[in-house]
Symmetry: C2
Subunit: 265 residues, 2 copies
DNA sequence: TATTCCGATAGTGAC
DNA sequence: GTCACTATCGGAATGAG
């Protein structure tokens, strides 16, 4: 039945005034798309970017990625680029929240499920942790595993447009028979590739991975603080601008670098 | 491992002094067999009759029905007849308990599981209700369903001895591949053959069947009491010998008859 | 077909 | 590949000198 509202996103996408949606649902909207909170987040941060129904598309063409990719190529590409623009705004917002809540930022994924079960195209924008109480089943996890194949990264979809037309034709098929089995594959950590025999063990491991990341980033902050202190001592008349309890700016500057545990540079 | 004591019955059967078994385990014993309470009764009454290890049998020949039926035919038959004798004593005891606790008696089944999981031959003697909190799984139920085939009635086994030798040879094989699938068949009421989709529904239905039986038997008692009263009134100087609150004797006399709800004969 | 525990699997119903 | 609920199915452990 569709009574469990498999079409709720379509209803959102058809609203002439998205602002009337409750704030617990709607995060933001533009002329062309909506961003909503995923009602069952599978990562610490998890949003959906949804195209609003508008010319030249009808609701059926916007049903899912497969139906969109059957549309005129340039139109489809334009729509995806628009979603991409909005998704990147969401990404920035998430990164800002990461800093606020955790003091560092980590990877963010943007992509589609090959075989979505809820109708109307929706682009997942979620933090790369897959740590969430709503992550319960193998199919939940495998549907977001970044290397499993079921989760199709937005950047990959965009690259199909520039590839050989025959390749475009093939990949845009998105056959159920090819993607469905991926959800039943063995559980493996998306980060270290280790195999985990069941969901409780996987979830513990993912939490450990996140805790490890957390500790590493905290150590990074600490090293930055020390370096800052040293500089302050050297130029003794100067007070460090970062001598407070908000490490954000340290991390903004340092977060793209990889350092060994005793790196000093 | 056999550490989960799949061989506990063998240990009982080898005891030189069965009386040393705790009374919660042992119901009675003779020179040749023991009767124990089934630790996980699948009916209101459920006992096991177990042959003691004695010449000409060794423990391996008494492992199960299959191994017993490979022994010399007359020996095997004698052992089964001995078990049968003891089982009939148990049956009488159960019927007495039925009267004491429920005021009427109902059918009792005696038989073997085609493929037992605990070692050492054990004859199930249980009341025909299959109402018990320990009746939990489909395989539990199907293993006692009197028409499913997995539960082999003692009378059937005894009849094999008088049948054609080739029939004896065939039936006494008790191949796992033939009997195991019976446990996975759909659930159906052993009494009315109705199909039930799952164990909770089956259990409710079995309880209803038992309640119906209970009400029918109670009504039977009531009719007997009325008839008794009428007789007392007719021969007005006489007091009914059954004018008390124990309906047992009424039922002993009337229990083999079938009457319609308004039968007066 | 011993039980029990744990977890995966399957069907349903949901507004 | 919606969730939540119920029940089933499937493996492993089970004790113990």
């Amino acid at each position: 039945m569709s009574s469990a509202n498999m079409t709720i996103f379509r209803a959102y996408a058809q609203k002439s005034n998205p602002a009337s949606l409750p704030p617990s649902v709607l995060f933001s909207h533009s002329e062309t798309c909506l961003t909503v909170f995923d009602a069952f987040p599978k990562s610490i941060f998890h949003f959906l970017v949804i195209p609003r129904v508008r010319p030249p598309f009808n609701v059926y063409q916007l049903a899912n990625l497969r139906s969109l990719l059957k549309c005129e190529k340039n139109c489809a590409k334009e729509l995806l680029i628009d979603l991409s623009r909005e998704a990147n705004n969401v990404k920035k917002m998430i990164e800002s929240e990461m800093f606020k809540k955790y003091g560092f930022k980590w990877e963010i994924w943007m992509g589609f499920h090959a075989i979505p079960s809820m109708e109307h195209l929706h682009l997942h924008v979620l933090s790369a942790d897959l740590c969430s109480p709503r992550m319960k089943l193998k199919k939940h996890y495998n549907s977001f595993h970044p290397k499993r194949g079921f989760f199709i990264h937005l950047s990959d979809v965009l690259s199909w447009f520039d590839a050989d037309p025959s390749y475009y034709k093939t990949t845009s098929q998105l056959k159920k028979s090819e993607y469905e089995p991926l959800l039943k594959e063995d559980l493996s950590c998306w980060k270290c590739d280790r195999n985990l025999s069941n969901m409780p063990k996987l979830k513990s491991h993912l939490q450990e991975e996140f805790d490890k990341l957390f500790d590493q980033e905290k150590a990074k902050v600490e090293r930055e603080r020390k370096r800052s202190d040293d500089l302050a001592q050297t130029s003794s008349s100067q007070i460090s601008l970062n001598d407070d309890d908000s490490p954000q700016d340290e991390l903004v500057r340092g977060s793209d670098e990889e350092r060994g545990p005793h790196s000093e540079n």
